[in-house]
Amino acid sequence: MSTPTRATLPRQPFWSRRMRRTLLKVLTYLALVTGSLLFLFPLYWQVSTSLKTAQDTVRFPPVWFPVPLQWGNYPELLHRFPFALYMRNSVFISALVILGTLLSSSLAAYGFARLRMPGRDIIFMVLLSTLMLPGAVLLIPQFVMFQSLHWVNTYNPLIVPAFFGNPFSIFLMRQFFMGVPHDLEDAARIDGAGYLRTYGQIVLPLARPALLAVAIYTFLSTWNDFLGPLIYLSDEQKYTVAVALRYLQGSVRTRPENHLLMAAATLSIIPCVLVFFFAQRQFIQGTVISGVKG
């Protein structure tokens, strides 16, 4: 539009611009809503299948909403498979892995962020480079190592390494520690607190958001870990939820009982969903912290 027109019709560009903006807004919402439906529908289908009768799951046209809801599927699942036990195993492993990761990684992160030592940054880079190591490379030798320690079919291979630092968590917390002002620590040191006390009483309480983010990240990756429990646990009693699901899928495959399978899948993701909603803000912020900065 040329300038003279705009001068004679002052309202027109205003309107067209506003309309364009509204149109853009409407299109954005439309795209996002369509996408959300596509993203959510599988989950809806999982939950609704878990509340159907066996006949309803294979009916055509599909039963979009089961009436009445078959809540009884869940007790039946728990009755037929020791799913509660698997949940307990997963909780136990996750809790210890979180504890170990928080302890060892925050210690190391504090060392890397604050305490000076010759060669420190090189060590950090080497440690960080393991992030780029494909897990597959370590799978076999770790298995051989744990087998020679007679750790196969115990939880040790899944838990013990967590107490020796995790590069991603170290990186995340180091980023956080570097952003904390030095003043409080200096004050603590002047008052006579040693390094360990400064770390434990001053720095850790400040780092709660980072610790929480690491805890959530660790929980999700431990709870969802499949390959580890798959190769290390052979006793059915020791299965974690992820391995148990696979075992369920295998045992039910001969007789399609998809409503029970979906009930099991739904139970298995409830902790993740709860954790996610409970600490969503923290987690998203935490992940942003870890977003690459140099």
């Binding site: 599909p62 597959a136 076999i140 140099g294």
Partner: protein, 360 residues
């Protein structure tokens, strides 16, 4: 912390501080004109000696290290568990697997040295080549899809509109869920006769393919599945997008740049460091494809979804050929390393580091 010798760890159960009289004067760096901590320390040591000439013999054994050295020791102790973990759980296995890859080893008995025979076997193994092909195709499709889709989503969400948090949650949620549960769900969704996708298609009169049972569709189905967790990258993108100064966009709109020009000349260059990071991580992840194929197709039909990791797993834990599996893992490691180096090498051409530019 300055004057109390030997307290580098600051352990709470260590002996109480010595008499205050000698301390007060020198515990405050502010009070000294020189302000150098090292001198303070030495002064305090001398003060200690002067105050307690006939002190207990333990006194003589007390650490008298320079502050720098004490800090270095503290640092070493703080990072010791992580370094130990790196040595025991990463470096040692890495080296062991290189050694194992040169042996014939079946978990029972002792590894037998066979030279490069395992590598030779792999290069002559059609299934190995199939696994390489499947993983290559998967990576070539999935990496650009992940990057483009997640970035497009993030750009849509980065407009200051109401309700974006809800969308963020919705798109992020599937990425939180375990591979096994997600695989079970998709087995059900993709089921040929009763799956939601094919019954929906039948409702509109289309007969859908046998998604996971047809070798022409199986890998496509796995790729489709992988896009459900595209929200994983949203936080990183959104964080980076919000760090782009708005002045740049204002300048562009004054210069008459349209939306594409803004994306092409402002958003993409400003995001290039994050794109770089995500690209490398995506490549590594794509080579790790395991759970989905293990659960959904088991590598079939006719090995059309035999991913590299699945074949490695089968070799190691199916046929317990640990030597061959180690050779496979080393070849994968080298491939990933080369790809990463290639991406790093190409980065000066397209990655823009604002901080570097400003310093220069």
């Amino acid at each position: 912390m300055i004057a109390y010798g030997g307290r580098w760890g600051g352990l709470p159960h260590l002996p109480p501080p010595p008499p205050a009289a000698g301390r007060q004067g020198c515990a405050w760096p502010v009070a000294t004109p020189s302000g150098r901590l090292l001198e303070l320390e030495e002064a305090s040591v001398q003060l200690d000696r002067a105050l307690k000439p006939a002190g207990p013999r333990a006194n003589a054994h007390r650490f008298r290290l320079s502050l720098q050295r004490r800090e270095a020791i503290a640092c070493a102790l703080f990072i010791a568990p992580a370094v130990l973990g790196f040595l025991v759980f990463s470096l040692f296995p890495l080296l062991t697997s290189a050694a194992l890859s040169l042996t014939d080893y079946h978990l029972a008995g002792w590894p037998r040295y066979v030279g490069l025979a395992n590598y030779a076997t792999l290069f002559g193994d059609d299934l190995w080549w199939q696994a390489v092909r499947v993983t290559g195709i998967y990576a070539l499709c999935v990496v650009p899809l992940w990057l483009i889709n997640s970035l497009a989503l993030a750009l849509l969400m980065n407009q200051n509109l109401r309700g974006m948090n809800v969308f963020r949650t919705i798109y992020y949620l599937p990425a939180m869920l375990s591979g096994v549960a997600v695989s079970m769900l998709w087995i059900w969704l993709l089921s040929y006769r009763y799956g939601l996708i094919n019954t929906s298609l039948r409702l509109v009169g289309v007969q859908g393919p046998n998604w996971v049972g047809d070798k022409r569709w199986a890998l496509f189905s796995i790729i489709l599945m992988s896009q459900w967790s595209v929200g994983w990258y949203l936080p990183t993108w959104l964080g980076a997008l919000q760090n782009i100064p708005t002045e740049l966009y204002e300048a562009a709109s004054i210069d008459g740049g349209g939306w594409w020009a803004r994306i092409r000349y402002i958003t993409l260059p400003m995001l290039s460091a994050v794109i770089f990071y995500n690209l490398i991580m995506n490549i590594i992840w794509a080579t790790q494809l395991f759970t989905e194929v293990f659960m959904v197709t088991g590598g079939g039909p006719q090995f059309s979804t035999l991913s590299y990791m699945l074949y490695l797993y089968n070799n190691a834990f199916g046929y317990s050929k640990m030597g061959v599996a180690s050779a496979m893992s080393w070849l994968l490691f080298l491939a990933v390393l080369l790809l990463t180096i290639a991406v790093f090498r190409s980065s000066p051409a397209w990655v823009y580091y604002e901080a570097e530019r400003r310093r220069a």
